[in-house]
């Protein structure tokens, strides 16, 4: 599956109503995250203590937090943290997982066994536990969170790629390629990996949704991005203590997480349909 083809399936996914609506929200969030600095006149880190706990108003559309900072501004900058942490972490996870999985699936033997054992070991723990342990080792902060989420999802992509490669490698066209003298790496990169990409892409999309929640969870525990850098999870965590005094502090970041994660999942669904094997066969 070439880049052009994957782009075209994304476009196809966007055409379905489910994909269209969720895609639009995601584009909105991404744009909000990128242009946060231009979109709002407020700073995310400048405190105005006497102006704390202001309810949503014309000046502060979503109100202010316990430090008098504009909540909408914090949510936009928080999208930056949430999206960048989760997508970079999943990106790392997909890349490493594909390399490991492809190598294990293609090479087989002792290397395969070693990788499988390692991956199954991390697979047997819930992602949150793996992430918590890693953050405890690396230390709290954005880097720690990225690494922790990346490793937490590594098993999923390694297993997926490996299974795909194992299934494809005995196909006749691979044998044909080998018989005309194609090298191992050529076969891996030209035939095996591109054909294993589609399910990994969908899995990556769905994992990004989970990763946003995981990032928010680590943030909620105070282990994610450290203040004053905003993160949706940390905002909800501080809001939970102020539920009665200023409910908007927990409600809006909570909505941001919920709607974005639902959008990511719906878009992933739409992508599954767009990448449907039957459709692809028809194209060929």
């Amino acid at each position: 599956m070439s880049l052009a083809r994957s782009l075209s399936s994304v476009v196809r996914a966007l055409r379905s109503p489910k994909g269209g609506i969720s895609g639009a929200w995601l584009v909105l969030v991404v744009l909000g995250a990128i242009f946060a600095g231009v979109l709002t006149p407020f700073d995310y880190d400048v405190q105005d203590l006497p102006g704390a706990f202001v309810a949503p108003s014309a000046t502060h559309w979503l109100g202010t937090d316990e430090f008098g900072r504009d909540l909408l501004t914090r949510i936009l900058y928080g999208a930056r943290t949430s999206l960048s942490v989760s997508s970079i972490a999943i990106g790392l996870s997909v890349f490493t997982g594909m390399v490991l999985g492809a190598a294990a699936g293609y090479l087989g033997g002792a290397f395969d066994r070693a990788v499988t054992i390692f991956v199954d070991l991390t697979w047997s723990f819930p992602e949150i536990l793996v992430a918590l342990i890693l953050v405890a080792i690396i230390g709290p902060g954005i880097t720690g969170t990225m690494a922790a989420i990346g490793v937490a999802y590594l098993a999923q992509f390694t297993r997926l790629t490996r299974a795909q490669i194992m299934a494809i490698r005995s196909e006749t066209y691979i044998e044909a390629a080998r018989s005309v003298g194609a090298s191992g790496s050529f076969i891996l990169f030209r035939h095996l990996l591109p054909n294993a990409l589609a399910p990994v892409l969908v899995a990556a999309m769905l994992a990004t949704g989970d990763a946003i929640i995981l990032e928010a969870t680590l943030g909620f525990f105070g282990l994610g991005a450290q203040p004053p850098t905003p993160s949706w999870g940390a905002m909800m965590s501080s809001g939970s203590a102020l539920l009665f005094k200023a409910p908007w502090i927990i409600i809006f970041p909570g909505l941001a997480v919920a709607v974005t994660v639902i959008a990511v999942n719906l878009f992933g669904d739409a992508l599954i349909h767009a990448l449907d094997i039957k459709t692809r066969l028809r194209e060929v």
């Binding site: 880190d45 400048v46 405190q47 203590l49 006497p50 704390a52 316990e66 430090f67 405890a136 230390g139 709290p140 902060g141 525990f221 105070g222 282990l223 450290q226 203040p227 004053p228 965590s237 501080s238 939970s240 203590a241 102020l242 539920l243 009665f244 005094k245």
Partner: protein, 550 residues
């Protein structure tokens, strides 16, 4: 008195378990309510007192995670300790001392001996009579604890008869009554401690207190039942006999908001420590009320004096003067409580240090000191020196109030040119982290109402933790020794501790922040609280007078 001398501790790793437990408890409470409702019709037939005199209290988040009820291994205690154990003497909120297990006492004119006359007829929970031999054994056992300094001045203990104890002193110790009244020195049955070994305080705890330990689940709850033999209550209690409540469950809920919701929904009857954020909400709820308890807590920012750039006293002073105490009091704590300008709570005479040495917000002076120390303001608002940014670590623990306060401190430090990087740790691990000595600044709090807390947190033999400031100063050590062991009378001790406290403060190993007031919240439809709370916190002395309205 409750004396969680050390710090707020909190364990979020148990949240899932706690949630399940909470769900279970809720179901249980519902069933219990139905049973109660059903029993109302039956009660007319039963003698008064047969009704369930039970209550559920929630410990403060700072009290969560006590590993056992063994006083001899405890570094921290919680509010359940004084339910199980009685002390020789009791302290009131005006800091005066009153008879408890000791009926009376005399101090020799030279302060070199103390004689305590014990009440007769006192028995331990296991039925064993309480005698002077138990006190003597307990004092000997106490010498191997972390808090052994409390009995350092006692050279030997004599027991002329079963009800008389005599302490022969190495040096006069005007603080001995305070130590004996401390929750660390509630008296267990020394033979039970020896017999049970590591299990003591977990499966069983034997004291003489108004309540017996029924069960203890680490990090979740402690259940105590009434000691029906109790007849030796302190004169600070209205009721000297058995407690009114037959059974109390003390739950540990690590998150304030969850605890508050439990109180509002009737799942629990009282919160021993209510955060100020909820005071306004309590006022709007007709079923809830607040009881004020004298404040014993101080929030402060320890400064690690061994880490650059804080090896320079000017930088330490600048950081300390950047803390805007009035702003924090008004905006983080809604003006409940008071600012802190030195290390001790205002109720203590030793807190009255030379006004010139108290630490109050002064941004202009802070900036001037940093300029003088060679840290020039950079374009990004962060100071620099020799190409090095004034970037420091600021540690805190993950309770919501600490995180919030630390973010304000971070912004205040930024205002004078510090780039403080917050690092949040789980409260159960942060103490071990301090022992590595890697931190530069931190936000902490302690509970204690005696000046010897200065010794605890700044003594050179406790570097890392509890001496988070890593403060080790020969002159301070000299003043410390004098204060701890060289005072013959209370007046002398106050003078010596004031001098020690003054000197420590002048070296800026910390910045004072805030003194909270302590509020207990309770359901007034359920609990019958005494109108006046005696003692220094909610102890057994108070709890014997608490009843349930039916």
């Amino acid at each position: 008195m409750r004396a969680t001398r050390t710090d707020r501790s909190n364990d979020h790793t148990n949240d899932t378990d706690n949630n399940q437990q909470r769900e279970f408890d809720k179901m249980f409470m519902m069933v219990k309510k139905h049973l109660l409702a059903a029993s109302v019709s039956v009660t007319a037939l039963l003698p008064i007192g047969a009704m369930a005199q039970e209550a559920v209290f929630v410990l403060g988040t700072n009290e969560v995670g006590i590993p056992s009820y063994n006083l001899l291994t405890a570094v921290n205690t919680n509010s359940v300790y004084p339910m199980i154990y009685d002390n020789l003497v009791a302290q009131d909120d005006d800091l005066s001392f009153h008879p408890y297990l000791a009926e009376s006492w005399e101090e020799a004119p030279d302060g070199m001996s103390w004689v305590f006359h014990l009440k007769s007829g006192v028995t331990f929970h296991n039925g064993k009579p309480f005698t002077s031999a138990d006190v003597a054994k307990f004092i000997e056992m106490f010498r191997s604890t972390e808090s052994s300094y409390m009995v350092d001045a006692i050279a030997s203990v004599e027991t002329p008869d079963d009800l008389t104890v005599k302490f022969n002193m190495k040096n006069p110790d005007p603080n001995i009554l305070y130590n004996l009244a401390s929750s660390f020195m509630g008296i267990p049955d020394p033979d039970a401690v020896t017999a049970l070994g590591d299990d003591y305080g977990i499966t069983e705890a034997v004291g003489t207190g108004p309540f017996k330990l029924e069960s203890f689940t680490l990090g979740q709850e402690t259940v105590v039942v009434r000691n029906d033999d109790y007849a030796w209550g302190s004169s600070l209690s209205a009721n000297q006999g058995p407690a009114k409540l037959a059974r109390i469950t003390f739950r540990e809920i690590p998150e304030d908001s969850t605890a508050f919701l439990e109180l509002k929904s009737g799942g629990v009857d009282a919160l021993l420590a209510l955060p100020t954020d909820y005071l306004a909400e309590i006022a709007t709820d007709a079923t809830l009320a607040v009881a004020k308890i004298p404040g014993q807590e101080v929030y402060y920012m320890p400064i690690n004096v061994t880490k650059e750039p804080f090896t320079d006293i000017r930088v330490r002073q600048a950081a300390a003067l950047a803390i805007n105490q009035p702003e924090i009091l008004a905006n983080v704590f809604s003006n409940y409580g008071a600012v802190a300008n030195n290390f001790l709570i205002s109720a203590l005479p030793e807190s009255k240090i030379d006004p010139a040495l108290t630490i109050s917000y002064d941004a202009a002076k802070s900036n001037a000191l940093l300029d003088e120390a060679g840290w020039t303001m950079g374009a990004d608002g962060i100071r620099e020196k020799d190409g090095q940014k004034l970037s420091v670590s600021l540690w805190t623990q993950n309770d919501s109030i600490f995180r919030r306060l630390t973010e304000v401190v971070q912004a205040e430090l930024k205002a004078v040119g510090f780039d403080a990087q917050i690092q949040t740790f789980d409260s159960s691990t942060i103490r071990d982290q301090y022992k590595t000595g890697e931190h530069q600044l931190a936000v902490r709090s302690y509970f204690w109402n005696n000046a010897d807390i200065v010794d605890w947190f700044f003594g050179a033999d406790r570097l890392g933790y509890p001496n988070v400031s890593m403060f080790n100063d020969p002159k301070a050590e000299e003043l410390r020794t004098k204060a701890m062991t060289g005072s013959k009378t209370s007046e002398e001790r106050v003078a010596n501790f004031t001098a020690y406290h003054e000197y420590v403060t002048s070296q800026f190993p910390y910045a004072p922040i805030y003194q909270p007031e302590q509020n207990m919240a309770f359901n007034k439809d359920r609990l019958d609280m005494p109108t006046e709370i005696n003692g220094t916190s909610i102890t057994g002395v108070v709890m014997v007078d608490v009843g349930v309205k039916e």
